[in-house]
Amino acid sequence: MSKLIFRNIVRFILLVLFQVLVFNHINLFGYINPFIYISWVFLFPVRKSKSLLLLTSFFLGILIDTFSDTGGIHTAAILTTAYFRLPILEMVMRKKDFDYVLFNIRNLALNKLFLFISILTFLDTFVVFLLDYFNFSDIGSIISNTILTSIFTILISFFGILLFTKKHK
Protein backbone atom coordinates (compact mmCIF):
# COMPACT_ATOMS: atom_id res chain seq x y z
CA MET A 1 0.00 0.00 0.00
CA SER A 2 2.74 2.43 0.97
CA LYS A 3 4.51 1.50 -2.23
CA LEU A 4 1.43 2.61 -4.14
CA ILE A 5 1.37 5.98 -2.33
CA PHE A 6 5.09 6.50 -2.91
CA ARG A 7 4.74 5.69 -6.60
CA ASN A 8 1.89 8.17 -6.97
CA ILE A 9 3.81 10.95 -5.21
CA VAL A 10 6.79 10.43 -7.53
CA ARG A 11 4.48 10.39 -10.55
CA PHE A 12 2.83 13.62 -9.37
CA ILE A 13 6.16 15.46 -9.09
CA LEU A 14 7.52 14.07 -12.35
CA LEU A 15 4.36 14.99 -14.28
CA VAL A 16 4.47 18.60 -13.02
CA LEU A 17 8.18 19.01 -13.77
CA PHE A 18 7.98 17.39 -17.19
CA GLN A 19 4.96 19.47 -18.12
CA VAL A 20 6.33 22.86 -17.09
CA LEU A 21 9.99 22.39 -18.00
CA VAL A 22 9.80 20.25 -21.13
CA PHE A 23 6.35 19.97 -22.67
CA ASN A 24 5.38 23.63 -22.20
CA HIS A 25 8.29 24.60 -24.42
CA ILE A 26 7.97 22.12 -27.28
CA ASN A 27 6.01 24.52 -29.50
CA LEU A 28 5.58 22.02 -32.29
CA PHE A 29 4.74 23.84 -35.56
CA GLY A 30 5.08 27.05 -33.60
CA TYR A 31 2.34 26.62 -31.05
CA ILE A 32 1.40 23.05 -30.12
CA ASN A 33 2.26 22.05 -26.56
CA PRO A 34 0.95 18.66 -25.39
CA PHE A 35 -0.71 18.55 -21.95
CA ILE A 36 0.84 15.37 -20.59
CA TYR A 37 -0.22 16.20 -17.02
CA ILE A 38 -3.66 14.66 -17.63
CA SER A 39 -1.99 11.25 -17.48
CA TRP A 40 -2.47 11.79 -13.74
CA VAL A 41 -6.19 11.22 -14.22
CA PHE A 42 -5.64 8.15 -16.42
CA LEU A 43 -3.19 6.51 -14.05
CA PHE A 44 -4.71 7.37 -10.67
CA PRO A 45 -5.89 4.14 -9.01
CA VAL A 46 -9.61 3.53 -9.48
CA ARG A 47 -11.14 3.31 -5.99
CA LYS A 48 -14.56 3.57 -4.44
CA SER A 49 -13.70 6.90 -2.82
CA LYS A 50 -13.42 9.36 -5.67
CA SER A 51 -12.77 12.53 -3.66
CA LEU A 52 -9.03 11.88 -3.44
CA LEU A 53 -8.71 12.00 -7.23
CA LEU A 54 -10.51 15.37 -7.29
CA LEU A 55 -8.34 16.84 -4.53
CA THR A 56 -5.02 15.67 -5.97
CA SER A 57 -6.06 16.76 -9.47
CA PHE A 58 -6.93 20.16 -8.07
CA PHE A 59 -3.46 20.58 -6.56
CA LEU A 60 -1.78 19.33 -9.73
CA GLY A 61 -3.78 21.84 -11.76
CA ILE A 62 -2.94 24.70 -9.39
CA LEU A 63 0.78 23.86 -9.69
CA ILE A 64 0.65 23.76 -13.49
CA ASP A 65 -1.25 27.06 -13.54
CA THR A 66 1.22 28.70 -11.20
CA PHE A 67 4.13 27.73 -13.37
CA SER A 68 2.53 28.70 -16.66
CA ASP A 69 0.70 31.87 -15.44
CA THR A 70 -2.67 30.71 -16.71
CA GLY A 71 -4.85 31.59 -13.71
CA GLY A 72 -7.06 28.55 -13.14
CA ILE A 73 -7.45 27.21 -16.66
CA HIS A 74 -5.64 23.90 -16.24
CA THR A 75 -7.18 23.39 -12.79
CA ALA A 76 -10.70 23.75 -14.18
CA ALA A 77 -9.87 21.43 -17.07
CA ILE A 78 -8.26 18.64 -15.04
CA LEU A 79 -11.11 18.78 -12.49
CA THR A 80 -13.66 18.32 -15.24
CA THR A 81 -11.64 15.43 -16.63
CA ALA A 82 -11.29 13.83 -13.20
CA TYR A 83 -15.00 14.19 -12.50
CA PHE A 84 -15.99 12.47 -15.74
CA ARG A 85 -13.34 9.76 -15.57
CA LEU A 86 -15.49 7.06 -14.00
CA PRO A 87 -18.59 7.58 -16.21
CA ILE A 88 -16.40 7.52 -19.31
CA LEU A 89 -14.55 4.43 -18.11
CA GLU A 90 -17.87 2.68 -17.54
CA MET A 91 -18.99 3.77 -20.98
CA VAL A 92 -15.81 2.51 -22.64
CA MET A 93 -15.89 -0.82 -20.79
CA ARG A 94 -19.64 -1.15 -21.31
CA LYS A 95 -20.25 -2.38 -17.78
CA LYS A 96 -21.27 -0.76 -14.54
CA ASP A 97 -19.53 -2.82 -11.86
CA PHE A 98 -15.93 -3.87 -11.90
CA ASP A 99 -13.43 -4.97 -9.31
CA TYR A 100 -12.11 -1.73 -7.86
CA VAL A 101 -9.11 -3.19 -6.04
CA LEU A 102 -7.73 -5.29 -8.85
CA PHE A 103 -8.57 -2.88 -11.61
CA ASN A 104 -5.61 -1.68 -13.60
CA ILE A 105 -5.76 0.56 -16.61
CA ARG A 106 -3.21 -1.60 -18.45
CA ASN A 107 -5.54 -4.58 -18.33
CA LEU A 108 -7.88 -2.79 -20.69
CA ALA A 109 -7.74 -3.85 -24.31
CA LEU A 110 -5.53 -1.44 -26.27
CA ASN A 111 -8.33 -0.03 -28.39
CA LYS A 112 -10.42 0.61 -25.28
CA LEU A 113 -7.46 2.24 -23.53
CA PHE A 114 -6.89 4.45 -26.56
CA LEU A 115 -10.55 5.45 -26.67
CA PHE A 116 -10.59 6.18 -22.93
CA ILE A 117 -7.47 8.39 -23.21
CA SER A 118 -8.78 10.14 -26.32
CA ILE A 119 -12.16 11.12 -24.84
CA LEU A 120 -10.64 12.47 -21.64
CA THR A 121 -7.89 14.35 -23.50
CA PHE A 122 -10.37 16.01 -25.85
CA LEU A 123 -12.44 17.07 -22.86
CA ASP A 124 -9.42 18.54 -21.07
CA THR A 125 -7.95 20.41 -24.03
CA PHE A 126 -11.34 21.76 -25.03
CA VAL A 127 -11.89 23.26 -21.57
CA VAL A 128 -8.35 24.68 -21.58
CA PHE A 129 -8.74 26.50 -24.90
CA LEU A 130 -12.32 27.54 -24.18
CA LEU A 131 -11.20 29.29 -21.00
CA ASP A 132 -8.00 30.60 -22.56
CA TYR A 133 -9.73 32.36 -25.46
CA PHE A 134 -12.80 33.19 -23.32
CA ASN A 135 -14.62 34.44 -26.39
CA PHE A 136 -17.11 32.65 -28.61
CA SER A 137 -16.06 34.65 -31.65
CA ASP A 138 -12.77 32.70 -31.54
CA ILE A 139 -14.56 29.34 -31.74
CA GLY A 140 -12.59 28.43 -34.89
CA SER A 141 -9.25 28.87 -33.13
CA ILE A 142 -10.57 27.05 -30.06
CA ILE A 143 -11.62 23.99 -32.08
CA SER A 144 -8.51 23.83 -34.27
CA ASN A 145 -6.21 24.23 -31.25
CA THR A 146 -8.18 21.59 -29.34
CA ILE A 147 -7.92 19.05 -32.15
CA LEU A 148 -4.22 19.59 -32.88
CA THR A 149 -3.13 19.66 -29.25
CA SER A 150 -5.31 16.65 -28.42
CA ILE A 151 -3.80 14.53 -31.16
CA PHE A 152 -0.28 15.07 -29.89
CA THR A 153 -1.29 14.72 -26.25
CA ILE A 154 -3.09 11.45 -27.00
CA LEU A 155 -0.13 10.02 -28.90
CA ILE A 156 2.40 11.01 -26.24
CA SER A 157 0.35 9.85 -23.25
CA PHE A 158 -0.73 6.62 -24.96
CA PHE A 159 2.80 5.55 -25.80
CA GLY A 160 4.11 6.96 -22.53
CA ILE A 161 1.66 4.81 -20.58
CA LEU A 162 2.54 1.74 -22.67
CA LEU A 163 6.26 2.31 -22.08
CA PHE A 164 6.34 3.37 -18.45
CA THR A 165 3.67 1.27 -16.77
CA LYS A 166 3.74 -2.43 -16.07
CA LYS A 167 1.01 -4.81 -16.98
CA HIS A 168 -0.40 -6.68 -13.99
CA LYS A 169 -1.15 -10.28 -14.53
Binding site: L17, V20, L21, N24, N27, G30, Y31, I32, N33, K50, S51, L54, L55, F58, G61, I62, D65, T66, F67, S68, D69, T70, G71, G72, I73, T75, A76, L79, T80, Y83, F129, L131, D132, Y133, F134, D138, S141
Partner: protein, 276 residues
Protein backbone atom coordinates in the same frame (compact mmCIF):
# COMPACT_ATOMS: atom_id res chain seq x y z
CA UNK B 1 -31.53 19.67 9.11
CA UNK B 2 -31.26 15.93 8.85
CA UNK B 3 -32.33 16.11 5.25
CA UNK B 4 -29.67 18.70 4.57
CA UNK B 5 -27.01 16.39 6.00
CA UNK B 6 -28.44 13.55 3.97
CA UNK B 7 -28.29 15.73 0.88
CA UNK B 8 -24.66 16.68 1.50
CA UNK B 9 -23.83 13.06 2.24
CA UNK B 10 -25.43 11.90 -0.98
CA UNK B 11 -23.96 14.52 -3.26
CA UNK B 12 -20.68 15.17 -1.49
CA UNK B 13 -18.62 14.08 -4.48
CA UNK B 14 -20.48 16.42 -6.79
CA UNK B 15 -20.38 19.24 -4.24
CA UNK B 16 -16.62 18.85 -3.80
CA UNK B 17 -16.24 18.99 -7.58
CA UNK B 18 -18.43 22.09 -7.71
CA UNK B 19 -16.49 23.92 -4.98
CA UNK B 20 -13.09 23.17 -6.54
CA UNK B 21 -14.32 24.05 -10.02
CA UNK B 22 -15.67 27.39 -8.78
CA UNK B 23 -12.29 28.17 -7.20
CA UNK B 24 -10.56 27.36 -10.50
CA UNK B 25 -12.99 29.49 -12.52
CA UNK B 26 -12.59 32.41 -10.11
CA UNK B 27 -8.83 32.23 -10.59
CA UNK B 28 -9.32 32.13 -14.37
CA UNK B 29 -11.59 35.15 -14.42
CA UNK B 30 -9.20 37.05 -12.15
CA UNK B 31 -6.40 36.27 -14.57
CA UNK B 32 -8.41 37.63 -17.49
CA UNK B 33 -9.02 40.94 -15.76
CA UNK B 34 -6.10 43.31 -15.64
CA UNK B 35 -4.99 42.52 -12.11
CA UNK B 36 -3.51 39.03 -12.01
CA UNK B 37 -4.26 36.87 -9.00
CA UNK B 38 -1.75 37.50 -6.25
CA UNK B 39 -0.64 33.94 -5.50
CA UNK B 40 -1.14 31.80 -8.58
CA UNK B 41 1.62 33.26 -10.75
CA UNK B 42 5.14 32.19 -11.58
CA UNK B 43 6.77 35.06 -9.65
CA UNK B 44 6.69 33.07 -6.40
CA UNK B 45 9.91 31.62 -5.05
CA UNK B 46 9.24 27.97 -5.93
CA UNK B 47 8.44 28.35 -9.62
CA UNK B 48 10.75 31.36 -9.99
CA UNK B 49 13.58 29.42 -8.37
CA UNK B 50 13.07 26.35 -10.56
CA UNK B 51 12.88 28.44 -13.74
CA UNK B 52 16.01 30.31 -12.68
CA UNK B 53 17.96 27.06 -12.23
CA UNK B 54 16.83 25.65 -15.55
CA UNK B 55 17.52 28.86 -17.43
CA UNK B 56 21.06 28.98 -16.04
CA UNK B 57 21.64 25.64 -17.77
CA UNK B 58 19.96 26.47 -21.07
CA UNK B 59 21.73 29.84 -21.28
CA UNK B 60 24.72 28.28 -22.97
CA UNK B 61 22.58 27.44 -25.95
CA UNK B 62 21.86 31.02 -26.91
CA UNK B 63 25.15 32.67 -25.95
CA UNK B 64 26.04 33.10 -29.61
CA UNK B 65 22.89 34.95 -30.65
CA UNK B 66 23.01 36.95 -27.44
CA UNK B 67 26.56 38.10 -28.22
CA UNK B 68 25.49 39.13 -31.69
CA UNK B 69 22.59 41.12 -30.31
CA UNK B 70 24.82 42.90 -27.81
CA UNK B 71 27.40 43.82 -30.41
CA UNK B 72 24.64 45.17 -32.68
CA UNK B 73 23.40 47.31 -29.84
CA UNK B 74 26.96 48.53 -29.12
CA UNK B 75 27.39 49.58 -32.73
CA UNK B 76 24.09 51.43 -32.70
CA UNK B 77 24.96 53.29 -29.52
CA UNK B 78 28.50 54.13 -30.72
CA UNK B 79 27.14 55.51 -33.97
CA UNK B 80 24.66 57.55 -32.02
CA UNK B 81 27.44 59.04 -29.90
CA UNK B 82 29.43 59.89 -33.04
CA UNK B 83 26.42 61.56 -34.64
CA UNK B 84 25.94 63.75 -31.60
CA UNK B 85 29.65 64.68 -31.47
CA UNK B 86 29.38 66.20 -34.91
CA UNK B 87 26.66 68.51 -33.74
CA UNK B 88 28.77 69.56 -30.76
CA UNK B 89 31.65 70.75 -32.97
CA UNK B 90 29.36 73.12 -34.83
CA UNK B 91 28.22 74.72 -31.63
CA UNK B 92 30.31 77.64 -30.40
CA UNK B 93 29.86 76.92 -26.75
CA UNK B 94 27.79 74.59 -24.67
CA UNK B 95 26.61 74.92 -21.17
CA UNK B 96 24.41 72.57 -19.22
CA UNK B 97 21.96 74.07 -16.82
CA UNK B 98 22.14 71.52 -14.05
CA UNK B 99 19.17 72.97 -12.22
CA UNK B 100 16.98 71.96 -15.13
CA UNK B 101 18.54 68.57 -15.52
CA UNK B 102 16.35 65.68 -14.47
CA UNK B 103 16.92 62.10 -15.30
CA UNK B 104 13.59 60.81 -16.50
CA UNK B 105 14.27 57.16 -17.30
CA UNK B 106 16.50 54.53 -15.83
CA UNK B 107 17.11 51.11 -17.38
CA UNK B 108 17.64 47.96 -15.36
CA UNK B 109 18.94 44.82 -17.00
CA UNK B 110 17.05 41.60 -16.31
CA UNK B 111 16.83 38.14 -17.78
CA UNK B 112 13.80 36.24 -18.99
CA UNK B 113 13.82 32.88 -17.25
CA UNK B 114 10.53 31.63 -18.63
CA UNK B 115 9.26 32.61 -22.06
CA UNK B 116 5.80 31.84 -23.46
CA UNK B 117 4.52 32.79 -26.87
CA UNK B 118 2.28 29.98 -28.08
CA UNK B 119 -0.78 30.54 -25.89
CA UNK B 120 -3.55 33.08 -26.30
CA UNK B 121 -2.49 34.91 -23.13
CA UNK B 122 1.25 34.86 -22.63
CA UNK B 123 3.29 35.81 -19.58
CA UNK B 124 7.05 35.92 -19.13
CA UNK B 125 9.03 35.56 -15.92
CA UNK B 126 12.00 37.81 -15.06
CA UNK B 127 14.84 36.98 -12.66
CA UNK B 128 14.56 40.31 -10.81
CA UNK B 129 11.90 41.60 -8.48
CA UNK B 130 11.07 44.02 -5.69
CA UNK B 131 14.57 43.71 -4.22
CA UNK B 132 16.04 45.20 -7.40
CA UNK B 133 13.56 48.11 -7.37
CA UNK B 134 11.17 46.68 -9.92
CA UNK B 135 7.54 47.67 -9.55
CA UNK B 136 4.22 46.79 -11.15
CA UNK B 137 3.48 48.59 -14.47
CA UNK B 138 7.05 49.12 -15.61
CA UNK B 139 7.83 48.67 -19.29
CA UNK B 140 10.09 45.86 -20.54
CA UNK B 141 12.05 46.19 -23.81
CA UNK B 142 15.16 44.91 -25.51
CA UNK B 143 17.21 46.54 -28.24
CA UNK B 144 14.85 45.32 -30.97
CA UNK B 145 11.60 46.50 -29.47
CA UNK B 146 8.87 46.36 -26.88
CA UNK B 147 8.27 43.12 -24.96
CA UNK B 148 5.63 43.86 -22.34
CA UNK B 149 4.66 45.41 -19.03
CA UNK B 150 5.38 44.04 -15.55
CA UNK B 151 2.21 42.70 -14.03
CA UNK B 152 3.18 41.00 -10.78
CA UNK B 153 6.25 41.01 -8.59
CA UNK B 154 7.63 39.06 -5.68
CA UNK B 155 10.88 39.60 -3.79
CA UNK B 156 13.17 38.15 -6.43
CA UNK B 157 11.02 37.57 -9.50
CA UNK B 158 8.52 39.37 -11.69
CA UNK B 159 5.96 38.30 -14.28
CA UNK B 160 5.54 40.32 -17.46
CA UNK B 161 2.31 40.71 -19.43
CA UNK B 162 3.68 40.05 -22.91
CA UNK B 163 2.49 42.06 -25.90
CA UNK B 164 1.27 38.63 -27.03
CA UNK B 165 -1.66 38.73 -24.59
CA UNK B 166 -5.31 39.63 -25.10
CA UNK B 167 -5.06 42.16 -22.23
CA UNK B 168 -2.07 44.00 -23.66
CA UNK B 169 -2.80 47.53 -24.94
CA UNK B 170 0.22 49.64 -25.88
CA UNK B 171 0.08 53.16 -27.24
CA UNK B 172 1.94 53.36 -30.56
CA UNK B 173 2.35 55.79 -33.44
CA UNK B 174 3.63 55.93 -36.99
CA UNK B 175 7.25 56.95 -37.17
CA UNK B 176 6.70 59.37 -40.03
CA UNK B 177 3.56 61.09 -38.75
CA UNK B 178 2.01 61.74 -35.35
CA UNK B 179 -1.00 59.48 -35.75
CA UNK B 180 -1.54 57.32 -32.71
CA UNK B 181 -3.01 53.84 -32.37
CA UNK B 182 -3.12 50.88 -30.01
CA UNK B 183 -1.06 47.72 -30.32
CA UNK B 184 -3.06 44.52 -29.71
CA UNK B 185 -2.65 40.84 -30.59
CA UNK B 186 -5.22 38.52 -32.13
CA UNK B 187 -3.57 35.31 -30.93
CA UNK B 188 -2.74 33.83 -34.32
CA UNK B 189 0.95 34.36 -35.15
CA UNK B 190 3.56 35.35 -32.58
CA UNK B 191 5.48 37.36 -35.18
CA UNK B 192 2.48 39.47 -36.17
CA UNK B 193 0.61 41.96 -33.97
CA UNK B 194 -2.25 44.30 -34.88
CA UNK B 195 -2.95 48.02 -34.56
CA UNK B 196 -6.38 49.45 -33.90
CA UNK B 197 -7.76 52.97 -33.53
CA UNK B 198 -5.60 54.53 -36.25
CA UNK B 199 -7.53 57.61 -37.46
CA UNK B 200 -8.69 57.37 -41.07
CA UNK B 201 -6.91 60.53 -42.16
CA UNK B 202 -3.55 58.89 -41.45
CA UNK B 203 -1.76 57.79 -44.61
CA UNK B 204 -0.15 54.41 -44.13
CA UNK B 205 1.80 52.20 -46.47
CA UNK B 206 3.11 48.66 -46.27
CA UNK B 207 6.59 48.89 -44.76
CA UNK B 208 5.98 51.91 -42.52
CA UNK B 209 7.72 51.69 -39.16
CA UNK B 210 5.67 51.67 -35.97
CA UNK B 211 7.19 53.03 -32.74
CA UNK B 212 5.89 53.57 -29.21
CA UNK B 213 3.80 56.71 -28.82
CA UNK B 214 5.05 57.87 -25.43
CA UNK B 215 1.58 58.93 -24.38
CA UNK B 216 1.48 56.58 -21.44
CA UNK B 217 3.90 56.85 -18.55
CA UNK B 218 5.23 53.34 -19.18
CA UNK B 219 7.31 53.51 -22.37
CA UNK B 220 9.40 56.43 -23.63
CA UNK B 221 8.60 57.62 -27.13
CA UNK B 222 10.32 56.10 -30.12
CA UNK B 223 11.02 52.50 -29.18
CA UNK B 224 10.83 50.29 -32.24
CA UNK B 225 7.97 47.82 -32.58
CA UNK B 226 7.67 46.63 -36.17
CA UNK B 227 6.72 47.43 -39.75
CA UNK B 228 3.30 47.34 -41.38
CA UNK B 229 2.86 44.03 -43.13
CA UNK B 230 -0.57 44.48 -44.70
CA UNK B 231 -3.85 46.27 -44.05
CA UNK B 232 -7.38 46.69 -45.35
CA UNK B 233 -9.20 49.94 -45.97
CA UNK B 234 -12.95 49.40 -45.84
CA UNK B 235 -15.83 51.86 -45.43
CA UNK B 236 -13.41 54.73 -44.87
CA UNK B 237 -11.83 52.91 -41.92
CA UNK B 238 -8.56 51.08 -41.51
CA UNK B 239 -9.15 47.44 -40.67
CA UNK B 240 -6.76 44.68 -39.65
CA UNK B 241 -3.48 46.52 -39.79
CA UNK B 242 -0.93 43.71 -39.33
CA UNK B 243 2.51 44.55 -37.96
CA UNK B 244 5.43 42.19 -38.33
CA UNK B 245 7.41 42.62 -35.12
CA UNK B 246 11.13 43.34 -35.11
CA UNK B 247 11.49 41.17 -32.04
CA UNK B 248 11.51 37.42 -32.36
CA UNK B 249 9.27 36.79 -29.35
CA UNK B 250 10.24 33.11 -29.32
CA UNK B 251 13.92 33.82 -28.58
CA UNK B 252 14.21 36.36 -25.78
CA UNK B 253 16.90 36.42 -23.17
CA UNK B 254 18.26 39.65 -21.70
CA UNK B 255 15.88 42.58 -21.47
CA UNK B 256 15.78 46.07 -20.01
CA UNK B 257 13.17 47.29 -17.56
CA UNK B 258 12.35 50.99 -17.79
CA UNK B 259 11.83 52.98 -14.61
CA UNK B 260 10.14 56.32 -15.19
CA UNK B 261 11.01 58.73 -12.40
CA UNK B 262 8.36 61.22 -13.44
CA UNK B 263 5.57 58.69 -13.63
CA UNK B 264 3.92 59.63 -10.34
CA UNK B 265 4.03 63.29 -11.25
CA UNK B 266 2.39 62.64 -14.61
CA UNK B 267 -0.20 60.28 -13.11
CA UNK B 268 -1.11 62.74 -10.34
CA UNK B 269 -1.55 65.54 -12.84
CA UNK B 270 -3.75 63.40 -15.06
CA UNK B 271 -5.80 62.35 -12.04
CA UNK B 272 -6.44 66.00 -11.20
CA UNK B 273 -7.92 66.54 -14.62
CA UNK B 274 -10.41 63.74 -14.05
CA UNK B 275 -11.87 65.28 -10.92
CA UNK B 276 -12.29 68.82 -12.23
Amino acid sequence: MQQLFYFIQKFRYFLLFLVLEIIALTLTIKNHSYQQSKFINSANFISGGIYNQVSSISDFLNLKSENKRLSEENIRLKNWIEENKQIDINKISTHIDTSKYHQKYQYISAKIINNNYSKRNNFLTLNKGAKQNLKIDLGVINNKGVIGVIKNISKNYATVLSILNSNSRINVRLKKSFHYGTLVWNGKDYNVAQITDIPRQAIIKVGDTIITGGKSAIFPEGINIGVIKDFKFEKNQYKEINISLFNDMSALSYVQVIINYQKNEQKALEQNNLYE
